[in-house]
């Protein structure tokens, strides 16, 4: 079963790659705020006349993209 080392190598290097990205994720502060990102998604539409989403617009006037740190 000499294919197993290859598959394990591939799977492990994939895992390792994800681990490195995870470390970057933590270090770069991606995980510091785990509340507002969930809210922010709701405010990225341009206002469209006559649709329900027009209730959740006008956020472009405030610096919603500015991070706190």
């Amino acid at each position: 079963m000499n294919i197993i080392p290859l598959l394990i190598l591939c799977s492990l290097s994939l895992g390792l790659l994800f681990l490195m990205v995870f470390i970057w994720w933590v270090k770069s502060g991606q995980g510091e705020d785990l509340v507002t990102p969930g809210m922010r998604v709701l405010f990225d539409d341009a206002p469209i006349a006559g649709t329900e989403s027009s209730t959740s617009n006008n956020t472009h006037t405030e610096p919603s993209t500015e991070s706190k740190n």
């Binding site: 294919i3 598959l7 895992g15 995870f22 922010r40 998604v41 993209t65 991070s67």
Partner: protein, 716 residues
């Protein structure tokens, strides 16, 4: 900090959305046809419409054409908005779109022609595999380019799912596509037998994980909150289940090979990781459903939310059932049966289908600045679709249980109670109900197409949607927003360039090196197992062309019910010359791996029987649902590639002597004459160069070399 005005590219989203609808209809229509062929074998009208060839067309069309385009639709729409940036390059977007459609067209042409590698969900031949790789690289550059020029510092969880999708699918596709070309449209997998099986299901399982699951979870995390107008239930949970899901999923592949000749420890590893997968999978389902907290009243009115709720529930059911099926106890009964078909369709129709519909219903009115033409019609679509899923899944569960139990049942004197045909007869009615379910589901899709076309007609398309955002003040984002020349963009980023080069080089390097390193040594062979003779090899390629492996397995599991029915259970050493492996994953017909074991005489049939059977299966086996293969009897065998095939096999480690390719044709004719003589004895006159002769030779090779039980000493 300055506020920038920019435009989202809606045209590329529109293109992918139309492609989704078109290929969705095509793929499901083909699905409906193949499902009907299973109770009306007369529907196998011509060679290029026969079940074995268009079943892969159905799977490829719904997975890569319908779901694939749906993924790109959702990703191109949400990525721009989540990152507050237009896609990195319009040219790359367009290239991505057209390359993907061309690949689909190529698949739609080659598969009915029988040009296939036989590996499930990876049937496309090597030139198309390369095109897929290139398209994926284009998509990757476009996506990562957009991420780099983003105006939003935090990368939303949905995008993480997209990133994991891209990286993993790239790796899976490349490794599973290691193949040695014989000609422009024919290649052999570099892996053989058990090894090939393991690579295939490592790929196959993770295609489900990273093509049908992670991109849809990513889309769910963007669209679900938008649809419900509520933030996701727990952003923390979404992050947690993302990282755990991607770390666990990749190890679960071997659960497709339980009780096979794969080493036990590898099987067990697959089982353990599959069971662990329940937690992160349900994390996603729960998070999606609870996003509706306090908004359940909206579900009553809104068809879009209904689709999402049923889609998520289907996801939850399929991801609970998956680990269940991975347990050896369940697998012993469910593997090779229609239970697995039911399982994947709950996921496919429920999760992928319904979430796609919801997204299209939500997105298209917005891109045309209007409202959905008819909410009522969308609600009707929902109910028709849901009924369709039920009419599909419930009969298939019963069919699966029937097969599983009937195959294993012994009578009081210890003999098998049912022959295989009786089990087929029992489930035909359920196959009809299943087709009715599919018809309902497809009718719903037509309703949606009508509704969406009407919606588009009443609005006006916003090709470039205006948006505003503040630029990121980080140094590396200084160029963002300016239309920089793409090459300059790479040049000013040495690390990025290094990374891209590394990817390119490693792809090339792996393709060349890995086969050299890993294929040289072989699994230790059983001394009596001989390589395929030229005629048998050609017959095997016909078996691949006709897609016989879609319905016939070549793997006897070590159960008494199977050794009684088929013969000696399978050993890994038997398959060492099988490039690719042909174990199959479904027994619509009986297992064939002992088809040449004349001594045991359990599934052996003589040449005349095979000839009559291929001409009309109902004549030898009344009630059979197998397609007839009259063209095998009419067609002359194409031997033009024979030399190349022998050489290729030798390169892959099959011990053909040097120079044997020159004698191969003479050997082939000699063996063919023998079969022709056998047929002649029963009064059938056949030319030795007909395809049927090669097919019979191959079927008689299966299991012929294996010594009777007890004498087989497998070396590991």
């Amino acid at each position: 900090m300055n506020k920038e005005t920019f435009y989202y590219d809606n045209r590329i989203v529109r293109a992918f959305a139309w492609a989704t609808l078109l290929w969705g209809v095509v793929g499901m229509l083909v699905g409906l046809i193949v499902s009907m062929q299973l109770f009306l074998p007369e529907l196998n009208l011509t060679s290029w419409l026969s079940f074995g060839r268009i079943r892969p067309l159905h799977t490829n069309a719904v997975i890569f054409a319908f779901v694939g385009n749906a993924i790109f639709t959702g990703v191109y729409y949400s990525l721009q908005r989540l990152l507050k940036a237009r896609m990195f390059s319009d040219a790359l977007s367009n290239a991505h779109f057209w390359m993907w459609q061309l690949i689909i067209v190529a698949a739609a042409i080659t598969l009915p022609l029988g040009i296939s590698t036989s590996k499930e969900y990876a049937e496309l031949e090597w030139p198309i595999d390369i095109a897929i790789t290139l398209t994926w690289v284009v998509f990757g550059i476009n996506m990562f380019g957009t991420i780099i020029k983003r105006r939003e510092k935090h990368i939303y969880v949905g995008i993480w799912f997209y990133i994991a999708t891209w990286v993993t699918v790239a790796m899976l596709h490349i490794v599973n596509s290691f193949e040695l070309p014989v000609s422009f449209l024919k290649s052999y997998s570099v892996f053989s037998g058990v090894q090939d099986a393991l690579v295939q299901w490592w790929y196959g399982h993770n295609a489900v994980a990273f093509f049908l699951t992670t991109p849809f979870l990513g889309m769910m995390y963007y669209f679900m909150p938008k649809m419900a107008n509520r933030p996701v239930y727990s952003y923390k949970l979404s992050i947690l289940h993302f990282w755990s899901l991607i770390f666990i999923y990749i190890w679960a592949g071997p659960h497709h090979l339980l009780y096979s000749s794969l080493p036990d420890w590898a099987q067990m590893l697959g089982v353990i990781f599959s069971v662990m997968l329940i937690a992160p999978s349900w994390g996603g389902m729960i998070n999606g459903l609870l996003t509706l907290r306090g908004a359940w009243d909206k579900v009553r009115e809104d068809a879009i939310l209904k689709f999402m709720v049923v889609g998520l529930v289907a996801y939850g059911m399929a991801t609970f059932e998956g680990p269940l099926l991975s347990l050896k106890t369940f697998n012993a009964m469910a593997h090779f049966t229609d239970w697995v078909v039911a399982h994947v369709h709950v996921g496919g129709l429920g999760w992928n289908g319904f979430v796609t519909f919801a997204i299209l219903y939500w997105m298209i009115p917005r891109m045309w600045g209007t409202k959905l033409y008819s909410q009522r019609m969308a609600n009707q679509h929902f109910w028709i679709g849901t009924l369709g899923i039920l009419f599909y899944a419930v009969p298939m569960y019963f069919s699966g249980f029937s097969q599983g139990f009937m195959w294993k049942e012994f009578d009081a004197s210890g003999n098998l109670k049912y022959n295989f045909l009786e089990t087929v007869e029992r489930i035909k009615f359920l196959y009809m109900l299943r087709s009715f379910g599919g018809l309902l589901y497809l009718s719903g899709v037509f309703l949606m197409v009508y509704n969406l076309v009407k919606t588009v007609k009443q609005g006006s398309f916003i090709a470039n949607e205006q948006a505003e955002a503040y630029a990121l003040d980080k140094a590396h984002d200084a160029h963002a927003g300016k239309p920089a020349y793409w090459h300059k963009w790479i040049e000013t980023r040495p690390m990025t360039m290094l990374l891209f080069s590394l990817i390119m080089v490693s792809i090339g390097g792996m393709v060349q090196l890995v086969p050299m390193i890993f294929v040289k040594e072989q699994v230790k062979t059983i001394s009596s197992i001989k390589p395929y003779s030229p005629l048998e090899l050609e017959g095997r390629d016909l078996y691949i062309r006709e897609g016989c492996n879609n319905c016939h397995s070549q793997l006897v599991r070590p159960f008494r019910s199977e050794t009684e029915r088929y013969g000696e259970y399978s050993k890994s050493g038997e398959y060492v010359y099988d490039h690719p492996f042909l174990w199959g994953s479904k027994r619509t017909g009986p297992d064939l791996v002992r088809g040449g074991d004349k001594a045991a005489n359990k599934v052996y049939k003589n040449a005349t029987w095979h000839y009559m059977h291929m001409l009309n299966p109902r004549e030898t086996s009344p009630g059979s649902i197998m397609p007839a293969y009259p063209w095998l009897i009419d067609n002359s065998l194409d031997m033009s590639l024979l030399e190349g095939k022998i050489k290729a096999m030798r390169t892959l480690g099959v011990p053909y002597e040097k120079g044997y390719e020159k004698e191969a044709k003479a050997d082939l004719m000699k063996q063919a004459e023998g079969i022709v003589a056998e047929l002649k004895k029963d009064g059938y006159k056949v030319e030795p160069d007909k395809e049927i002769v090669a097919m019979i030779a191959y079927l008689h090779k299966l299991g012929r070399d294996l010594k009777p039980a007890g004498e087989v000493a497998e070396s590991k």
